[in-house]
Symmetry: D2
Subunit: 353 residues, 4 copies
């Protein structure tokens, strides 16, 4: 009898790989075939937990294995492009840890390769699959907040300094992907500042402002040198405002029925009549489902049906374009950098199987 489950390979069993492995193992529609890593110690660790899953220190073994339909890549950023391209060329669907690749050019090549071969290319923007972000998106789409005025996020901790990416590629990437997902509008320019406090390392602290054609503005503050962990996002609208604290165990999202009211214009040019509304606060129940479980289900579903992923190649490209523009602005102490294209209507990247 044929195994109709999607055969998976995972490359990289370091920080994030074990989470992917755990979720593919427990997904009933997937079958984890093999794990590749250069470190024998890590492979031994995976074998102890999952004796039935093959291990290898040669990535090619995954590419050649016909029982592997798709590969999840959880390696350092500088290797993403090469590994993903090889997987696509071997006919495998690909899920890549964020960011998709170190430059927009390389991302475009991956998108082209995936399109040509009609393969799923998905980037692991995990936050898009959290129940909290999905709830925020639902509230925005239902226009509960009114016109969106701002998205303002702080994401900091005493974090891992990474050797090949700076803090915006590590942390701001989450917010940029969330902004793409919950807002109906693309940013048109970016101003960013960043600091490097340890000689010879990438920037460890940055502040990014994204400008939109509308009144909306987005700001993201990231820091690897914070004494405490902060994961807090404010979303302000003309009708209501959200405070989203990802560290809260249950009440992650608080919706405030607060705002301002505008009265009739006054004759006195120095006066404008702004009133304040201070209403109730409401914390909707948020499911405790693990985001990565939802994401793995979605990836398996896209592989099977050919439907375009929520966090597909084009979405990953837009995120990279914004990060690249922010990096250029950082180099120029905040000088604004225009963003290239604008959001076009999203169409499926290939026909369904």
């Amino acid at each position: 009898m044929q195994d109709i489950r999607v055969g998976m390979g995972v490359v990289g069993y370091g920080y994030w790989g074990p989470n992917l492995v755990r979720n593919f193992v427990s997904n009933p529609s997937a079958r984890l075939v093999a794990i590749a890593d250069l470190d024998p110690g890590k492979l031994a660790a995976s074998t102890r937990l999952y004796p039935g899953v093959a291990t290898t220190d040669r990535y090619e073994d995954l590419l050649k294995d016909p029982s592997i339909d798709a590969i999840a890549i959880a390696t350092p950023v500088r290797t993403h492009y090469e590994l993903a391209l090889a997987a696509l060329k071997a006919g495998k669907h690909v899920l890549v840890e964020k960011p998709l690749a170190p430059s927009a050019d390389l991302v475009r090549r991956l998108i082209d390769e995936a399109d040509r071969r009609k393969l799923t290319l998905m980037v692991d923007h995990t936050f898009l699959y959290t129940p909290a972000v999905q709830k925020i998106r639902e509230l925005v789409l239902k226009e509960e907040l009114g016109e969106i005025y701002y998205y303002d996020s702080t994401r900091s901790s005493l974090g891992l300094f990474q050797s090949d990416v700076n803090v915006i590629w590590d942390l701001a990437v989450h917010d940029v992907s969330i902004i793409q997902y919950i807002l109906n509008e693309d940013p048109v320019a970016v101003s960013a500042t960043g600091s490097c406090h340890v000689a010879g390392t990438p920037e460890n602290m940055a502040h990014i402002t994204l400008f939109f054609d509308s009144k909306c503005v987005a700001h993201v503050s990231v820091n690897w040198l914070s004494p405490i962990k902060v994961r807090q996002t404010f979303v302000g609208g003309s009708k209501k405002m959200i405070v989203y604290d990802d560290l809260e165990p249950t009440e992650k999202i608080k919706v405030y029925d607060k705002g301002i009211t505008l009265d009739e214009p006054s004759e006195d040019a120095h006066q404008f009549r702004i009133g304040y509304r201070a209403g109730d606060m409401w914390a909707p129940h948020i499911s405790a489902k693990e985001a990565l479980q939802t994401e793995v289900e979605h990836f398996i579903d896209c592989v099977r049906t050919g439907s375009p992923p929520i966090s597909g190649g084009m979405s990953g490209l837009r995120v990279i374009e914004i990060l690249e523009a922010a990096s250029r602005s950082i180099a120029d102490q905040g000088r604004p950098v225009l963003l290239p294209g604008r959001r076009t209507s999203v169409t499926p990247v290939r026909a369904t199987a």
Copy 2:
């Protein structure tokens, strides 16, 4: 018998004036002679609480009263220059609510006038007199934090939209004055972005980055349209880090013995060895003394002794220069603006009496 107390007049009995009045009334070295305001209702309110203090709707009455030695100004920003200049010309010492004046040029004229007349000119940067900020300054001066890496502050609430100033003149002014006070270094450039969400009003949301010649960077986030009040400042150093939350009733300052350690340089260019220290946290006891009480004592003392105030004219000027530069940067979507002068050694602005 001569009354040796400093005779005070207060102009403006709106939002902040009553706090000044209350503190001058209870200061044993001051005697509050009169309150001026254009609104009879406000004067009636002051009379109900302080029947012994004269009231007037003519500011000139304060200027002409020989028993008034000094005037505290708590009126809208656009009137500060004119009222302060008139007070100085009438030979009165002056305490002005922040910001000192709407432009650096006007501040310079006030400083000149005060210098020429050997009068005290002080600006009401209240936060400099809070026990919490004084404790932070003490820790910085004692080099408890090591090299200062950053100051990062968020100051937001569903705030009063003001007609004559935007949010940075209302809220960021606090942080800029604190930065001036606790750091040993002047910023050299500023990049700022800001947004206006209500047509016809000033910017209600802004993010400011101050650059220094050293590794240090300062960032200030201010917002009049936040659903909740936030007053949180992080100060990061090479040895320790502070989280200062002004809304905490008692543990306003937490000092974290956390940070990173650098190992010997590695041969592998891709690797640098950064370790993490996670030590104890310590919250020093902070006095509950009201900042305005300390500030009023300091003003009275400066008036009497001629010593230069902590928040004197030059300090107020530097703050205004930074706010002006930030405003220009906001108009250019974050383009960096160089700051004019550099900190020079502070010398007494006049001989002591």
Copy 3:
């Protein structure tokens, strides 16, 4: 022209008296005539703030003054009975700081005296007039919580050790008055334990359980030796539950749509099917009005109209009966003590004027 405002006298200008004075001064229907205190320093302090209000160190002066209609008593507990009785005998309405008197017997005598003379006797159970407690009562009355299961409160801080009362007369009195106010049922018995950690002082820590005929139970934990201030109350119902944190600046009350569900009885005696509901949380907007302002308005209104106060003599009596029973239980290490009467229908204590 006759002054139709209620003429007030206040005795005791120590910790709480100034708050009463401030609220009577600002109430437009009251006129504060005089303040009595034995301490000349305190009287001088009151004169500095309110030069128009007479002061005296003889309580009799208040009793004899025909322009004084009512007296507010803010003196140590051991003096309450004597001062209140004298005021009533002098024909004055009376507002007494909590607890009304040191024993139920003495309270009954005050009630009798007030009834006989058709005077208002009100006790200053301030918490009943807080917007938060009034909102809880409203939710309970509207049966939003379903059947009430419990009231569980913690009230602690590094508090003032009092010489003439123990911690339950100082702190638990608040909760007992709130329980009386928000529940429809009287407790029938009490078990309490208490500890004295400083030789020669009253109990500084206590835990009280109030039993009801229904499923409802109330527990109050009070402590003068807590390193941090806690003011937290849980009210659990069959449908919803409330967490009331009086130290929260704005979201004092959180209503949780959480609870359990009972399934059909199972055949297996060892099994019962209890499910859990985890719904939204809702924090109703709570007015920021000062409780004492509402209370003073209510007292003035009762004096004028003769309507029975929310916190009248009978309500104060019931609170004292519970405190006395709790004290007896504490002396017996938790042995339950039955409570005397049961709640009878509340009727106006006198005809309206």
Copy 4:
């Protein structure tokens, strides 16, 4: 070659069993031989994760297996005695989930059996092995807190109603074991009250006071019907006080240098001079090591060396005696119940191997 690792069997793979299994699997000195459970689905789940570990639905298989040296029991409370006794009789060392058995009598029989056979009998009082509780014990032993005045704990959540034990056997058991561990003194009496809000189920809410011969008092509040999870313990001493919040991710323990000071006795009997100290707060760094890992290491070590466990049979017995006394007091609405024995010097329950 002989395997010198301790051979383990685990019975019960429900809520807690998987945690035991995971820790025995990863302990290098243990070898998990087999898991027993009556539910085939649970055994299948364990096989998926640990294909190398045998499974069985017959407990006897564990008893008969000579490669099994010790058995961990994670089954419902009502089965603890029978399963533990069988294991001891089969010559196996035993680790039993708390509470050790449903009555003190049964616990004594297990202790006798283990003593006679010189086998390790340990109860899984997990909290004793948390870094936070160990830090509190260290501070108490070093007399950092001075004389201990109180232990006051709240442990509540919307919890699992259990069919065979009430809330004190489920939750208060943790605090009673902690109190035993950190205090140098045994309680002499207990008063407790409890409530049952769901017909036909055990008490779901209880408050327990433990009396000591010294000034010390302990209070434990537990609740299965709380809308939010609370795990907060106050430990007050004459010199310092601790707030221990187990839900805090990092700063679990805060040590307050706060308290009272006693002045010379005053002549006035109504006056005693109590002053307040308000010093710094200090949060010692707490290791993030999992408690169960430490506990499993300790059990393995006791099995190998014969040393008496921290949470051995006698310690478990004392906890049960207190829970039984509390249950009797609950039945009598708080009437105090004397506790049988007193702490005797702890001696090893058997000679070391």
